[in-house]
């Protein structure tokens, strides 16, 4: 944490002040569709930054390609809008070179788990100190609604007109297995839990992965007949269950409850551990061999 961050006093701030402080007004209007959840993810991230008191001069946002990857453009910080799937590899170079920078990556399910899957698992394995916010809309939104590695089996997409015949990836499970030290998943409807969680992710000295389940009202909703925007958002809410409750049912629930669990997505802080980050390991190495 920089001196500037330490000295900062936490004050009450309004949503309008947040917008003024953090957004690039020259970039407006934004590109997102009505009913899309990505704007909420941006909002929650800005609140988390404010709560954490991140120094904007010392924070870099990166992204790849896709709807969510347009987010860094709207934030008034140094930002690198890179190639499809590669943001984490770019971010690795940034963070290793200057470990004092706060590094945050916005990515999507296709960007992170499809084309960028290799960089994703290795960034987790290295436990490099950065925060990855993955907006999961279960579809390739920007290109018009093609099937993604996260699209649930049976769901429709422009390239799965008869329903998706492939099994789908759980991004958070993948992050945990690959070695990330803070992993959380939230829906976009309620602000407080994601804001606190993104703040925890920013504080974690290692790889933090926050999956934000976000409705794509244009490409996903239409093809899968999810109804009006509000209905779709409610469906997301109904589909999720807090990790504590989920795990209680897994252990102590009735057969009926366990059956219902199959239809639910677990949300909450899914994993947390302390482990040396790559930056610390590199620093140790340099201290050992520097001439």
């Amino acid at each position: 944490m920089s001196e500037k961050q330490k000295e900062r006093k936490v004050e009450m701030i309004s949503a309008a002040e947040i917008r003024d402080k953090y957004l690039r007004h020259d970039m407006m209007p934004h590109i997102f569709c009505t009913g899309c959840g990505i704007g909420n993810v941006l909002d929650y991230t800005l609140w988390a930054m404010e709560k954490e008191g991140l120094d904007m001069d010392n924070t870099v946002f990166l992204s790849g390609i896709g709807c969510s990857s347009r987010l860094p453009g709207y934030i008034d910080v140094d930002s690198l809008h890179t190639t499809h799937g590669r943001a984490l590899a770019f971010a690795t170079g940034v963070k290793i070179t200057n470990p004092d920078l706060n590094v945050v990556v916005f990515t999507g399910d296709g960007d992170c788990m499809g084309i960028g899957g290799n960089h994703f698992i290795h960034a987790c394995r290295r436990n490099i100190d950065m925060t990855v916010i993955a907006v999961n809309n279960y579809i390739y939104g920007m290109t018009g609604g093609q099937v993604a590695p996260t699209t649930p089996e049976g769901d429709y997409a422009t390239t799965a007109p008869y329903g998706n015949i492939e099994p789908s990836f759980d991004m958070s499970d993948m992050a945990i297995s690959a070695g990330a030290t803070y992993v959380a998943r939230w829906g976009v409807k309620r602000p407080n839990q994601p804001i606190n969680s993104i703040q925890q992710a920013l504080q974690n000295k290692g790889m933090s992965f926050v999956e934000m389940m976000s409705p794509c009202t244009t490409a996903y909703s239409r093809q899968n007949r999810m109804g009006a925007i509000e209905e779709f958002w409610d469906w997301y809410e109904e589909k999720t269950m807090l990790a504590e409750e989920y795990e209680r049912i897994e252990q102590y629930g009735t057969e009926e409850e366990k059956e219902e669990l199959k239809e639910k997505i677990k949300v909450g802080v899914l994993h947390q551990e302390e482990k040396k980050s790559l930056n610390e390991r590199l620093q140790d190495l340099i201290e050992e061999v520097h001439i």
Binding site: S79, T82, T83, T97, H122
Partner: protein
């Protein structure tokens, strides 16, 4: 570069005179030029560069990382460059093919970096341990869209070390990826080198204006004046860097023909305006020559043999070696073709630079091509005279 950093680099490198191969010379040159980040991925015959950098960099406080693939290694290098380091990667043909998309990103975002390519025979996996010169066009036209490349081609181990330093200086000066072309034979061949006492380095121009007056992708008048100042991440300039077509402030401007035209022409012209300045050739015996032997890299050593043998046989031969391949030395070729009857281009491919020579020469042009991993014999070049 600060004096103490150079001294530290020299200390890490060790003896002033060393019998080393080309790959090691690249690592030494990089360290002396101030390179402090290497993102790599193993590939024959370039792996020794990564191995040497993984040994040397931590000794001088630099960072080495082996990435998960070549797409990642070039990406990490671009990220590192924006975080302020002089950064590089090294690879061979298959890796260079994989890197093409992000090389395009480096052109579009005007990111300084050095890429050493130790060429091997292709296409595809080809002959991993044997040399070739098949990637010349790939450095110039490999990524999609329009851009101008700077590509250097040394022909001995001392020059490999010196040109690695030059590659970093040009990358910083022009804010562009610079390609340093070796081949398996040069990468693995050993010669004596002298570590230079003094090293002239170029550091990228950084903005002197306050952030609110900073124009990250602004215009200039001519050549390197068209290279914008580089606001390093963390210095408060809040630069938005994107591979999308962007305006002078770096913001996406993807719908207007003029925006794209203005941006790309400036990026191309910053290098091509300075074509003459960047041109670097070696000439021998051209004054009375009827036939010029034109070559580059390892092949030029056979061309030198052909020159000597041909002269002994009474043939009026001359020698032109291209040390800079891109931008292509158009003027040199034009002038040469006015004084000789024929140019013989020798290269380890089925014709790459040959086509550029044909494009600009006014005289007859012949190709002494050779593939399969063996360097030309002097007689194979003489056969085309």
């Amino acid at each position: 570069m600060k004096e103490e950093e150079l001294e530290l680099a020299k200390k890490a490198i060790g003896d002033k005179s060393q019998f080393i191969h080309g790959d090691t010379a690249v690592a030494y040159g990089a360290l002396l030029a101030g390179c402090r980040f290497f993102g790599g991925y193993p590939i024959t015959p370039a792996s020794e560069i990564a191995e040497k950098m993984s040994d040397l960099l931590p000794k001088v406080g630099g960072k080495y990382i082996q990435m998960e693939d070549e797409l990642g290694s070039i990406a990490s290098v671009i990220g590192s460059s924006w975080a302020g380091a002089k950064a590089m990667t090294a690879t061979s043909g298959p890796g260079l093919s994989l890197m093409q998309e992000n090389i395009g990103f480096a052109h579009m975002s005007e990111t300084p970096l050095v890429l050493a390519d130790v060429q091997r025979s292709g296409p595809s996996t080809g002959q991993p341990t044997l040399g070739a010169q098949g990637d010349i066009m790939q450095t110039r036209y490999g990524s999609h869209g329009d851009f101008a490349a700077i590509t250097l081609s040394p022909n001995n181990i001392q020059e490999t070390l010196d040109y690695t330093i030059r590659a970093f200086n040009l990358a910083e000066e022009y804010r562009t990826p610079v390609f340093l072309m070796l081949s398996a034979d040069l990468g693995h061949m050993r010669e004596m080198v002298e570590i230079p006492d003094e090293v002239e380095t170029f550091e990228r121009k950084q903005p002197k204006v306050p952030p609110e007056e900073y124009i990250p992708f602004g215009k200039g008048e001519y050549g390197k004046e068209k290279v914008p100042e580089f606001g390093v991440f963390g210095d408060g300039y809040h630069t938005y860097v994107t591979g999308l077509t962007h305006d002078e402030m770096g913001f996406p401007a993807t719908d207007d023909q003029e925006d794209h035209d203005r941006l790309i022409r400036r990026q191309v012209e910053k290098i091509l305006d300075d074509r003459e300045e960047l041109t670097d050739v070696e000439k021998r015996n051209l004054d009375d020559a009827d036939v010029a032997l034109l070559s580059y890299g390892i092949t030029s050593r056979s061309a030198m043999g052909a020159l000597k043998r041909g002269r002994e046989q009474g043939k009026k031969l001359g020698y032109l070696r291209l040390k800079t391949l891109w931008p292509f030395p158009i003027q040199e070729i034009k002038e040469l073709s006015e004084t000789v009857d024929k140019i013989v281009v020798a290269e380890m491919n089925l014709g790459q630079i040959y086509h550029k020579v044909v494009e600009h020469a006014e005289c007859e042009v012949a190709l002494a091509d050779k593939i399969g991993g063996e360097v030309h014999s002097p007689d194979e070049i003489l056969a085309e005279v």
